[in-house]
Each structure stands twice: as C-alpha cells, then as structure tokens.
Symmetry: C2
Amino acid sequence: MAVRLKDIARDLGVSLITVSKALRGRDDISEETRQRVLKRVAELDYRPNMLARGLASGKTYIVGLIVPDLLHPFFAEFAKALNGVLRHNNYGLILASSEEDPKIEQQEIRTVLARGVDALLIASCQPTLQGFYGVEDQRTPFILIDRDFPHLRAHFVGTDDYAAGRIATEHLLSTGKRKVAHIAGPDFTSGADRRRGYADSLREHGLTIRESSVIANSRVEELGEQVGYEGMRQLLRAKSRPDAVFCYNDLTAIGAIQATLETGLSIPGDIAFVGCGNVRYSDYLRVPLSSIDQQTGVLGHHAGKLTLELVENRTASPRQIRVKPTLVVRASSMSPEKARKVEKPSKKRPRPQS
Amino acid sequence: MAVRLKDIARDLGVSLITVSKALRGRDDISEETRQRVLKRVAELDYRPNMLARGLASGKTYIVGLIVPDLLHPFFAEFAKALNGVLRHNNYGLILASSEEDPKIEQQEIRTVLARGVDALLIASCQPTLQGFYGVEDQRTPFILIDRDFPHLRAHFVGTDDYAAGRIATEHLLSTGKRKVAHIAGPDFTSGADRRRGYADSLREHGLTIRESSVIANSRVEELGEQVGYEGMRQLLRAKSRPDAVFCYNDLTAIGAIQATLETGLSIPGDIAFVGCGNVRYSDYLRVPLSSIDQQTGVLGHHAGKLTLELVENRTASPRQIRVKPTLVVRASSMSPEKARKVEKPSKKRPRPQS
DNA sequence: GAAAGTATCGTTACCGCTAACGGAAAATGC
DNA sequence: GCATTTTCCGTTAGCGGTAACGATACTTTC
C-alpha cells in the first residue's frame, strides 16, 4: 500500500492536517515542523493521492484533450507541445480520440468530464454546434482547438487558416502562375477559411475563380492521398488545365502530385503545388513539397498557457488565439534554378522545441 | 453542480446505495427498482464521479501510457490503437511523455501512479533497469512496450525485432546483394535485437561482418535523417563500399539515401536500402522505401487486450508478446523491372483499423 | 496585568462513492 | 405453522484528502 498522510502524521506525532498544510505550503505552520514533515515525506517517497485530493478540493490537475485522430501529425505534435507545458506545471493529460465521429466525440466529452478534469481541449468534429450542449453548461472551462465555431463564444487556439490560404495563393501567383486551382478540405472552419483566403487572393489579383477549379471534399484526413489523386485527375480533365494547385493539406498534395506525374507533366514547370502542414518528410518526397507550416508546436504551447490561465483564474472573456502560419518553399513550387541554390533543405523546417 | 447519486436517491425515495447498486448491475436489486433508477439516471444524464468511485473502490478505469516521444509515428499509432481498445471497454487513457529522458520518465511514472491508474504501460528509455525500483514494488500492474528489459520479469508487448533484422537482411541477400551494412539503432533491446538478426542472417549465409560495416548510434529517434546521413557517408568512405544497407528506422534510411544520391550512385542498383517502421510517406519518397512494417496497430491492440486482462484478473505469470513484422518491398530494394509491375503501391501498406 | 493580537496546530465535517454487513419482509421447506 | 432461506433494501464505516473554523499557547499593547 502506498504511504498516506496519516502515516506521516503518526510517525511525526502530529495531526494529519498539519502534514497536509506543510505540504501545500500554507503559512500557519512553523518552519521547523514543515522541515520535519518534508524530511519524512522525502524519506518515505510520499506522493499525495490525486484522486482524494481532487475529490476533496475539486482540483484534479488533469486536463482533457479530445482529438479526431492521434495519428495525424498535427494533433500528435500539438499534444506533445501541450503536454510539455502541462508537465512543467504539474498537470497531467488525459487523452481521448473521437476518430472523426461526432457521436464518439460527445461520448468522450462526457466521460472525460466525469473524470473531473480542470479544463477540456477539444478539436471538434461536430458538423454543427448542437453537440456542444452539455459542455457549455458545465462549468469546466473548455478550449476549442484547430476548428472553431464562429457562433460559439468560446476560447479558441488554432492556425490562422485564412492567412494560410492567402500566403499559399500569393506565393503561387508570385511565381507567375495564373490559373490557380484549389483542392479544398472539409467544411470545418479550417477548410473554409483556407478556401476564403485562396479566393480573396485571386480576386484581389483580378483573377476569376472558375467553379471547376475548386474541388470540394469531406474526408481529407484519413485517405488524403486518394482524395488528392482523384481531385487532381478531375482538374486535369478540365478544359482549362490549372498551372498551380493549393492543396488543403500535404497528403492531398502528395496524391495530386502523383496524379500529375503520371500524366507526364512536370512540376513545378507545368503545374506547381503548395500543401499545408509541412510534414516531416516534405524534403524527401519525390518532389519536395512546398508547404504552409502551421507552427503546431507554438500552437500547443499557446494552448497550454491559456489552459493554465483558465484553471488558475477563470478568465471570463473568450480568447481567440490564431497563430500566423509560415511558408516553406521547396521544389514543388520553385523554379529549378532557384532550387539549386538551396543546400540544406532540412534546415528550413522550424522544429519546435517544447 | 453535476448530478449525484444522492439526488437520484432523493427523487426516487430510495437510499443512495440502492441507486449505486442498480447502476453497477448488482443482483440484490429488484428488476423494477432498477428500471426506475435507470430511467431517472437517463433523464438527468447522470454520470458517476470517477474520482469518488476510484477512491472508494480502488479502481479508476484509467490506464497510464508513458512514451519517449508522442510525435514518433510508432508511438502515435500505438497510442491510437491502444486507446481504441480501451475506449470500447470504458477505460480512459492518461498520457505522459518522457522526451527520451530517464529522469523525466521516472518522474512521470510516479505522478501517473499517484493518479491511481489501474495499469501502466511504459516504453522506457531507461539505460538500465535501475530506474524501475518503485514500479515493481507498487502493485499496479505494468507492461513494457517496444523496449524490453531481459532481466526484468515483466509483461512485454513489442515487435519481434530479431525477426525484423533477419527479414530485412534476408531480403537484401535475396536480391543478390552480398556486402550488407547496417546503420544500427540505440542500445535498447529493439536496436540490439535487430542487429542480432542482421548479424545472424549474414553469418548463416557464410558472410563475414566487417567491423566497419555496422554504424552504431545512440539518438536515432529525433534526428534520424542526420544520423543516417552521417552514417552513410562513413560507410561510403570505407574501402569496401557496401551494396546494401539495412537501416534501424525509416528516418535513418531517408538520410542514408540522401547521402548516397549525392554521390551520384544509383538506388537500388549500386546500393539497396531497407528501413524499418514503414512510415506513411514511404511510397512517395524520392526513392520509395522498402521497409519493415511493425504492425503497430496490432501491437497497440494486443497491449490493450493484455491490459484489460491484467486489470480484470491479475495474471501472475509475465506475458511476452512479440508481433512478427512484415516486409514491404518498394523501389529502394527492388529491381526497376520488377518495380514497374507494381501499380498501386499504396495498397501494400496495411493500415490498421482500430 | 488584562485585553488583544499572533503563531501554530487540531477538530469537525464533508467531497461522492463503495464494501461489507445488517435486517425486515416474502417465499420456501417439511 | 414455524423455522429457514431468499429477496430486497438500508446502515455503518470508510477511501485519502481538504476547507473552514476552533483551540491553544505565546507575544504584544498600553
């Protein structure tokens, strides 16, 4: 059996509550007793039972994180960075995956709340915000991650997806391309915002957006390559072939590039590509992929900080944190001459240090 | 405030304990009262407070997972599969990362245990098993993941790394290569076993292993490409250049391939490569990478099942589960003629369905 | 030197739930 | 018909902590 407060109290001939106070740094304890307690605590390697503490105090020092897919590099990296911040502040992380299923997500939200987490972070896959009944009235603070619900006045931490769309499109236009297509993502804010950024950029350059040059998809995350592949084939069949494509994420871009190469076209000469996510392997792909880096580590860091802020002193006003993404140019959108000048491509990828 | 047992009891005019029993499916409750209870429970959307339940019963329905790096696809996929099994059995997962630091790992083990997990899964980065004092005497069952400690009589779930080494090497030899080098991994069992498998295979074929053809490394996980790159350059400088290389993991292989291509050598003609891990992007690399698939999803599944078994009825005898890896051949070790016959390479990668 | 403050430690009650046992009414045995 | 078992529900006593308030002894104040 683990050692309890009671044991230490008995050993020292003081009351249980004295030990408890000494441990929690209360000031109505003499420095001498505190030292005696701490000494014994160290000897016995005592750790307070967090269940009991949580039950009694209402604070568990656990936060919950619900993501649609742990395997996705974005969420993995986010979770890692978040966990780093939490660990340094003695908070634990309980993780749940919704598998992109709104039903499961709701279920998980309930079970995680039942565990008394101090805060809840959700990268939601709810199509509407109906599913959030039951989270709102709970007084546990919660933060939306990556995917926002505009009409839900909640805390949010995510990429500035509108900027992502603009940056990618502006870049493609800057290389002289004019017929920029878009293989779009799902209808969450992330997908919609990137698409808006894309559309606005084109419009500002006086370019019209053909209906046929935007491919809409729903499930881009799991079967990204296939979606990109099919989408690209569709674009290639069109009368007016695009000379550049902004893809919702890197996996779609990979599929799209595959489809393009199969037709014998050259990249980026005939068609240039920009993805989003900046996956670790971007440099080593058949065609090194230009990509929007979402600064996922920074995101996780911010989310962690905000979480701590919320659990410490419940901030009332909703905070919206949108991290500006950056562009990493590689061969898929770079002229060969320019590409030759770049020597250490791996250096270009900012790796987050938690 | 959330609904409590007490509230339901009051509403129904029964005692608190009756409600508790009805909910937990005890048989000393009439079917009629049980239905009344369940009805009210549904109406109020009651969820038992897991902290209180855990404190009172000693069972939290949480298991802890400690990994060296969440960002690593292996651990991400493992965690995902594990979480799937747990979720279906109403268990939660609390996640901790050791960042490949033995100190942090020990710290995390203690904090996770203090949270009263029902079981603990650890992919340890302890150099020796000294660090396990404190886990053993705890009566919380624990399972080692991926990295074993031969002298610690513990439960283990991981890849059959020896087989991985053999399969990779045998494959390279079967393509006619004779001077097979190895860029090895860290000194955990995973790295050591793959190396043994490699060595044994060569020996059985009557081939001698030159000292210089095995590159030893320590930190392969984070900076895999660099390690592979440097290691390969070392191999290329040797008097007798290898004609095949088995790399500890895919990232090292990617770096090694990079170094090889820079010297103008062809792959797999001059030098063939096999990695390990079968990352998602293997098909789309500059040179599609042959790789050992560790069946990570299956691993996570087994780990989940074993965990449930342990928390249900504490199995005494240590169980050792080693999953046989499979080989996925791609261009990096396949003759071009053969390669041309393969049409849908993405189909070859068995993706786990949790 | 009594009132008032201060430092230090303890008592009581409870957080929400469960284990273990207790007890009364109904069903059963002979 | 009475003892015995079964069925069903409740009481008591915690799990290991914390909050809030008391209760001492020791100083300080004027």
